[in-house]
Every structure is written in C-alpha cells, then in structure tokens.
Symmetry: C2
Subunit: 439 residues, 2 copies
C-alpha cells in the first residue's frame, strides 16, 4: 500500500521538516496557528529584542513551491487510530493513510495547572507577545511609582527553570537592566530591578558539561543575576513564589521549567511516559500501527545511551526527515532501520558576548561561543529575508542598545484598567491556553 494521504499535526520543527521531505504523498499539514516559529529565539521576542515576524514564517508561504502540501489552520480535537481519521474543531474529519503526530508540548506545572496564569511560560508566539507586554507594563508601572512617590518598589523578575530558556531569559533581562533601563526609565535605578533564576536541581544548564554549567553560573552571577540552586518552587501566588523555604515577593514570574506533552496524545490511548510523551517504537511509530508516527517533543524516544532524546529542534527535524523517508519509500515495518540521532552539540547564550558551546569533544565559553551561537542561529533561520532581518536587528541592538520591538499595543479592555496596585490580581485571573499546537 502506498500511503496516499499523509496528515501532519503541528507545524513546528518536526512537522514542518516532515512536510518538506515528503515527495509523492498528498500532505495535509494542520496547525492551530498559521505560522512556523523558530522557537530557540522566542525569548528574544519576549524581551523585545526581535519582532515576531523576524522569527516566524507563514506556513502557506513556506509551502508555496510544494503543491502536494495543503495547509489547514485548525485545532485537532482527537485522533481515531482505528478508523484512521483525525477530528478537527472547525473542519470536517480528515482520513489519513499515514499520520505524523507532532503537536509539541507546554510547560509542566507539576500538578498545579493554576500556576500557569500566574507564571506564564514561553512556547508559542502568543506566549512571547504576552510576556513582552507583561514585562513592558511592569517597567511602566515601576517607573510611574518611582516618579510619583520616590519610594522604591522593587521590580523582581523570577525565572523558574535553569535550562537554556531560563538562562537566556535571565541574560536578556540583565542586558535590559544594564544598558536600556537607565536611558529609558530615568527614575529607575539598577537597584530597583532584581533578576532571580530558580533551579530545583544542583546546577543550571543541566544538559551541559558540569564545567560549562559552572562557567555559566559564574558569568550570570558576576553580571548580577541571583541564582538559587537546589530550590524547587513550591508555592506560586499572585504576589510571589515560595523558593525552598524562602518567600520571594514578585509579580513577574516566568515559567521555564519542565515539559508536558500535548493532551491530544491521550486520545491515541497508547503507553505514555510521566511527561505525557508517547513511548514510540524504534521506527517512531505507536504500538500496533506502523503508519502512525509520533515525533518531536511529543515522543519519548530512546537515544543510543538509553536515555530519552531531548526535546530540541535538531532532534525533531531529524525525526521528521526520517519519517518522511519511510513514507516516501513505503517501507513495511520489517524493512525499516531504527531511528538514530547523532548529537550535534548544544549552545546556550548567557548575555552580551557570553555563551557556552558543547559540540562533540569541543567545549567553549565566552565571546567565541557567543559568536558561534550567532552564526548557528542565523544559519538555521529559514530564508534570506529573516536572516537579513535578524542579523541587522542584532547588529543594531548591539551597537545602539535601542531595541526596536519594544511595543505595547493597547491592552485588551479587560487588562486596561490596571493600576499599579491591583495589576497582580488582574493577570492572575487571565486565562491562558494550555496546549500548544493542534492539540
């Protein structure tokens, strides 16, 4: 049987790559948004260094030259794996011969989903724009208070999670504090802003070599970030968080800890791990169906070291390519070689001209790693337009410290009546969407 119709759920790194590599099949790519996002740079949108359109691509435009790919903007409600049909919120059900499930993940709140409203995460462009609004509004409120009353009302940003996203967010906020805050918010002093990075484990960047973790810690602390290790967050309230035994007052908590796979996966009714990821077989299929694949953040896939592969873009892209090849060649299960992934290294930026890099046996930190980070991220951006835009934005920002993306649109009417006092509570009641992509 040649799979005639391939349905892909999710236009992230995994789903998009699969669609690009599928040759003869009729492909239907479903996403709840109309664009692909370069997630590794989302934190720069959240901190107003880049604009949304610098790191996002309309899916329809991406697939203009591939007439076999049809893009559908919709939410997938459930997967019927017996009937080989996906059900959508607005569209008619779609039957498939092969299915690639790549709906991504949201952050894990460890059984406290009510924390999400108080400590939003950073997975989608909507998240990033929301965080940017929140950050800019917090600066405005602090500046106004200082100007009116002269009293110090400490502006504390707490970032929960010491992985790359947490570290990169902390570094970006620090840069705003060091270089942009003075000129733009004349009443705020450096002492008015604290940046606290909280990590439950013994070190930040746990995926990296211990030596690079230590180096990153040194750099962050030298630049002024307060890092609290071995301290899980146990309580989140509108006015602060409990870090270990210590209460930290903050109305700006950002969540960058843990992943929880899309709840859509539950409708497959196959074994999942504790994060909700589907335990896929060696060819990335679910048990009992050789033509339903799960990839990216949604898959629990073992690497050759016996540990599950990390939920990062290179893994998702390799998986998408692997699955597309299986489908292109119409390989029956017994003729498939298992999926393998060769680690291509890891990079994390810490701040201006500071990063850590770990590529095979190679280790670097400081400006060299940072330059490498810039080159790699520019290289992986799709298309000339966005490469040029991001490169010029970075150069501009580096030279002038004037980020151009610091825009606060009129907040929606529900949020508009926020006074400095009750703005905590306003954000607390806000309802955040839970799942990320077509889930």
């Amino acid at each position: 049987m040649t799979p005639k119709r391939v349905v892909i759920i999710g236009g992230g790194f995994g789903g998009m790559t699969a669609a690009r590599f599928l040759r003869d099949a009729d492909v239907i790519l479903i996403d709840r948004t109309n664009h692909h996002v370069f997630q590794p740079l989302l934190y720069q949108v959240a901190t107003a260094a880049l604009s949304p359109s610098d790191i996002a691509w309309p899916l329809r435009t991406l697939f203009r030259s591939q007439p076999n790919v049809r893009v559908v903007m919709d939410d997938v409600v459930s997967i019927d794996r017996t009937a080989h049909v996906v059900r959508l919120r607005d569209s008619a059900p779609i039957a498939f011969d092969a299915l690639i499930v790549a709906p991504g993940s949201r952050h894990a709140y460890f059984g406290h989903d009510e924390w999400e409203a108080l400590a939003p995460g950073l997975k989608t462009m909507a998240d990033a724009v929301h965080l940017r609004e929140r950050m800019l509004l917090a600066f405005e409120v602090a500046e106004r208070q200082r100007a009116e009353t002269g009293t110090q009302n400490r502006l504390t940003f707490v970032i929960v999670g010491g992985g790359p996203t947490g570290v990169e967010l902390a570094g970006s906020l620090l840069e705003i504090r060091r270089k942009a805050m003075g000129p733009d918010y004349p009443h705020l002093g450096l002492e008015d802003l604290s940046i606290i990075l909280v990590e439950a484990g013994p070190r930040i960047l746990p995926g990296f070599d211990a030596r690079l973790s230590a180096k990153a810690l040194t750099v962050l602390e030298r630049m002024g970030v307060i890092v609290k290790l071995n301290n899980p967050v146990t309580v989140v309230r509108p006015d602060g968080v409990m870090v270990g035994n210590e209460w930290v007052a903050s109305t700006n908590v950002i969540w960058a800890a843990g992943n929880k796979a899309s709840p859509l996966l539950n409708t497959l009714a196959v074994p999942q791990d504790s994060c909700g990821r589907v335990k896929v077989r060696a060819d990335l299929t679910i048990p009992e169906d050789p033509w339903i694949f799960v990839i990216g953040d949604a898959a629990h896939c073992l690497g050759h070291d016996g540990k599950s592969l990390p939920g990062i873009a290179p893994v998702a892209m390799r998986e998408g390519q692997y699955v597309a090849n299986l489908i292109n060649q119409d390989l029956s299960p017994d003729r498939r070689s298992p999926f393998t992934y060769t680690d291509r290294g890891m990079l994390a930026t810490i701040g201006r001209a500071q990063a850590v890099a770990q590529i095979g046996p190679f280790r670097a930190s400081g400006p060299v790693a940072w330059a490498l980070w810039c080159v790699v991220h520019i290289f992986f951006l799709i298309g000339l337009r966005n490469r040029v835009r991001v490169m010029s934005e970075w150069t501009w920002y580096y030279l002038t410290f004037k980020p151009g993306a610091r825009l606060l649109f009129e907040p929606p009417s529900g949020q508009r009546h926020i006074s400095s006092k009750d703005h905590v509570r306003e954000f607390a009641v806000e309802d955040r969407p839970l799942s990320r992509r077509a889930a």
Copy 2:
C-alpha cells in the same frame, strides 16, 4: 511667566513634534500606548506587508537624548482648565503651566457607534493588528470552505470611505488577490474575492484634483476594484452593508470614513465643530487661556483659504513645532503671530507602481508618483533602523510577493471557537475601544 512644566497629551505626530522642539521646559508626554506610530503606513500593517515594529517607535527610546522629556503611559480622563491640572486613570493628577492637547481622533460612524464593532477602522497599531487578524482569518475560512465543499462562498471586502486610507487599503487587498492569493490559497480563485470601495461623495480622493481622482478611479477599476460612488452606507449588519439602495453581503467591512475627535476634548468645555474638534484661535489656543493649545486632528484650525486644515501628519507636525516655539520664547498672546500652514502637497498610492501626487502646481500619476511616494515615506520615517527595515521589506515584497508579516497569533480564547458559519456573529459582539490616544 516662564512655563515651567508643559504637559503634552498624545504621542502622535503633533505631540511628538512639540516634545522634540521644546527646549527648556520640563515636558511630560502622556500617551495611552508606549509608542509613536507612523500612521500613513498603518494600512500596510493591516494588510501584512509590514510588521508593527517597522513603523513604530517606543516613545521612551525616541526621547532618550532629551532628558527634559518624561514619558508617562496612561489615559487622560479629564482636563481641568481652571485649576490647570490633567487627571489620569492610574497616575496622580499632573499640574501644568502650559498644555498641548493632541489626543487625535477616531473614525466617525455618523451617530451609529454600534457599527464600529462590525466595521472596524484603522487609527492605531491595535486597530491594524486586529484588521490583519480578521483579514487572514477570513482567507483561512474561505480556503477551508472551498477545499471541503467545493462551493463558492464569495469573500467580499467592503471598504467604506474613498479617501487615501480607503484607496490604499483597496489597492493592497488587490495586490494580495493578484499575486499572493493563488500560491498561498490554492483552492481560492480570483473570482472568489471581491473588493468593493464605497464612497458617499461623487469621487474618490476628494482632497485631490478632479483629474487625479479620475485617474485613480480608472486604475482601481482596471485592476478589479468595484467602486461605488455617490452611495452612502446606511445600514451595517454582521452579514453585510446597505450601500445606497443595494444590499452587499460581506462579513469583512472596513471603515475608513470620517473623523471624530477624541471625547477628552469635551472636558475642556469650549466650542467644538461638528466633528468634535476644538475651534482654536489663530495661535492654536482655546478661548480664554493662552497656555492651553489644541493641535492635530483634535483642532479645527482655519487655513488661509478659510477652510479648516486637513487632519494629516504634516499639519500636525507644523502645529507642534509652532506651539513649541511659542512656549520656548514664552510669548504673551499679543506678541504671537498666527499659525500658518503652507500646503506641501499630497500623495496617495493606489497599488503596485501606481500612485497619484499633487505638489503645488505639480501633478503626477503612475510609476513616477509611486516612486515619489516611496521616497517621501521612507524619508519621513524616523531613524535609520526603520528606514532600512521598511525599504528592505518593500524591495523583498516587490520582488518575491512573499509578505513576511502575515502572522496570525493564537486568537484570544473568546475568538478561538469560530467556525466558518458563526464567525460573523463572533466578531459582531467584540468590544472595540472607542477613543484613540490618551483620551
């Protein structure tokens, strides 16, 4: 008396220019957003040709080098002209020695404010982003219907108002229809999209020479826009508009007709014209107070032909500069020469390589006028960064027809459950803010 403190309400062209020219005074610039917008290009954000940050500047960053200017992001609730105090929504009241009122305007719905939710206008960045979402969603819904049912469900955009904004919006939509629709929405044919431009008066671009109006009409009609002249809109409903005696079914109505000045002006309790603009004296002050000025869209100011000056950027900027000079020189009313404005001409773009220009005795249309339009608009953008960004976006779009800003973020949860059938009603109940700037 040297005015010690100058309060400016509104960071548009008038208020921003006044702040830039004020030298010795302590200036407090109040805006409800945190950015200045280059309004003449807003329609390009609404049609996804440009990104918000391409044509907006954070006010704080604009005034970094002017330490005498303090930026406050807040809504002005009322002006107490006896006590010389402005009252704000979130901040403490602010006393002033001189006041520059530049809160701008919203569109006029001719006594039918309920139409605004059905036929939103285009005055702020929030409006533009909202229109962009609405347009992109309409295309998605139409594409899905066509793909699923094969039946033609005509996608009709109705633009109310034949002034420059209406004409420019019609031209941009047309360009999307001609060049981008086919590749991106493969199920939609050219015949699926209609663009209707409605004008109550006898010609489009009424501010221009009759000959240029006729030229613009010819170009628009040749490119496929249906223009209905002498036809006021008398009814707006979620499913269409009544144009003269004809019912036009459309769920995408955009309002680009008429202006109504900010309701904040009513709190001044001085004579206003039928559009709500304050009838200012020759030195742009209100009656009985030589230190309260009203400028820009909010002022009814007579030109030397006895007609009121149009609400365009060059007028507002000249007014801002004039008022700043009066305050800088601390001129008493009897020593002030009246404000004068020399017309610098008008430009309107119609579509790809098509525009009309009218500068003094000079008249042009076609590619020459279009090139002039590009140069002028690039020239008036503030700062190198945005000039380079806009120029490169235009070049990219012109060459590739791939607009990069076509992003649809996850719609807020209220809007998310829109099926093709009831999306009309959903938009109908949406609540839009009425006033534009700090009003």
